[in-house]
């Protein structure tokens, strides 16, 4: 017993010391443990003249280059909100290169209002460049988000909703992915794999005129964008991340005053409309699996009032343009 107590005390002390050193209140939860992500510069690269270039550098510059390499390791161990935003912008760009935008001013302002209302009730109302939302002109049932706060919902997904609360559930699920850092986690997983170095080498060989450190940075940028888009289009996040996003969405709906069980109705329609192997069906657990997981969660919200009627008229007016 004495030994157990000692071990417990030692464990507590270790945790305390570790937390004092590394804990960052605002970025809590983003503890990245990246490997030496930049050890991939190929000195044998025939296209690179940096081996010769190095010979012309002064010792001070070489020392500065080494410092820069070290600082890169440090910088990428922790994604700053700025880094998340710039990765997110490129991920959004890739999504927008696959699907055209659906332009409807009324629908746009309606979705933005739902988004801002939800975010105002969340623990992260402000992120680096704020949140934004847009509709993709496709009947595929899908919705995407990026670490930079961009949310993109397809027309097909909107057609699966029959109330503002169901639409809010879709948006809340995407907010959850952003606020829980699922996109950045997928980069972390990718960087921990052997395939990472291979994909770095396969990255486009742009910016050849820059130093190895800058080339490495840009190629890593491209590889990280590919990691997230691969998760969004093909592999999906882990099932647990999806269930976690659903639970977070239900809680956010409740806090905002929406009817939390509305997410269930949306999943039922999705289950009916989805085509296997496409869109969300390819990257998410089945709607049935998601509903089953949520059943337990719903017990917390038994007393939630079903007040959807207050919002039904405006939903019908704004969503009408999408067509049913």
């Amino acid at each position: 017993m004495k030994r157990i107590a000692k071990i417990l005390a030692a464990l507590c002390l270790t945790v305390l010391l570790a937390s004092c050193e590394s804990f960052d209140f605002a970025n809590f939860g983003f503890d990245n443990d990246f490997r030496d992500a930049y050890d991939f510069y190929d000195e044998e690269d025939p296209d690179s003249d940096w081996e010769n270039h190095d010979k012309q550098l002064s010792p001070e510059t070489i020392e500065a280059l080494n410092k820069a390499a070290q600082s890169m390791d440090y910088a990428t161990q922790k994604f700053t909100p700025e880094n998340e935003y710039y990765i997110g912008r490129s991920v959004a760009g890739v999504i927008l290169s696959r699907y055209p935008l659906y332009n409807d001013v009324l629908l746009q302002s309606y979705l933005e209002s739902i988004l801002v209302a939800l975010v105002a009730n969340s623990s992260k109302p402000e992120i680096y460049n704020g949140y934004c939302i847009a509709v993709l002109d496709t009947d595929e049932i899908n919705a995407f988000s990026t670490p930079g706060g961009h949310i993109l919902i397809t027309k097909g997904m909107i057609k699966c909703t029959s109330s503002e609360d169901e639409l809010a559930a879709v948006i809340a699920h995407e907010i959850a992915h952003i606020q829980l850092g699922h996109g950045i986690k997928s980069i972390k997983t990718s960087r921990g794999s052997r395939a990472f170095a291979d994909s770095i080498n396969a990255a486009s060989s742009i910016v050849k005129d820059f130093s190895p450190s800058v080339r490495s940075m840009v190629m890593t940028f491209e590889t990280d964008i590919n990691s997230i888009t691969e998760s969004l289009f093909n592999k999906g996040y882990s099932k647990e991340s999806e269930y976690q996003a659903d639970r977070y969405a239900v809680s956010l709906l409740y806090k905002t005053g929406y009817y939390p069980m509305a997410i269930d109705n949306m999943l039922i329609t999705m289950n009916r409309n989805e085509t296997q192997g496409t869109g969300m069906a390819k990257t998410h657990p089945t709607p049935y699996q998601r509903m089953e997981k949520l059943d337990k969660e719903f017990r917390k919200y038994r007393k939630a009032e079903d007040n959807r009627r207050f919002r039904q008229d405006r939903f019908e007016q704004r969503i009408g343009t999408v067509g049913r």
Binding site: L65, A117, P125, E126, C132, V207, G257
Partner: protein
Amino acid sequence: MSGKTGCRGMIRVNKKISVAVLCLFVCTTAIFAKPKKGERMFVNVQQASLRVKKSSLSKETEKLSFGDPVIIESADKEWFYVTSQISGSKGWISANSVTKHRPSESSGYSTLTGELALAGKGFTEEVENLYKENGVIDYSLVDSIENTSVTTNQVTTFIIEGNLSTGEQK
């Protein structure tokens, strides 16, 4: 006699467990500690707002920029009441919009210039500009979706009419 020894033993064991539990409590408190009054923190989003109340929809008193220092006056779970070190204005700021470390310092080697400084900052606008050179992504489309149109007043009306919550914390 043996009963007394057993009782003392139990007391000793209970004491040890209590110490361990206390240690664990202290550790947990340290990890989730709120910042203290007078502590300096820094804005870690491009623009943060000082607000009259604890809600992102309440009246904004001042806009703060990335890296601006603030002094903690009091701290709630999700909102801190702060004084802007630059202007002296006071207001509520979202706890997630500030960080203990000055953002520019976190990227390290801030005295480096040119390519060296660029590499040290991680993924930034400069890296995006270099990446743009391959022409795969049309960033103008991304810029267009980032231009949001609704105002705080419109959202507040939307919330009230829809019987929703403004998210204001008491």
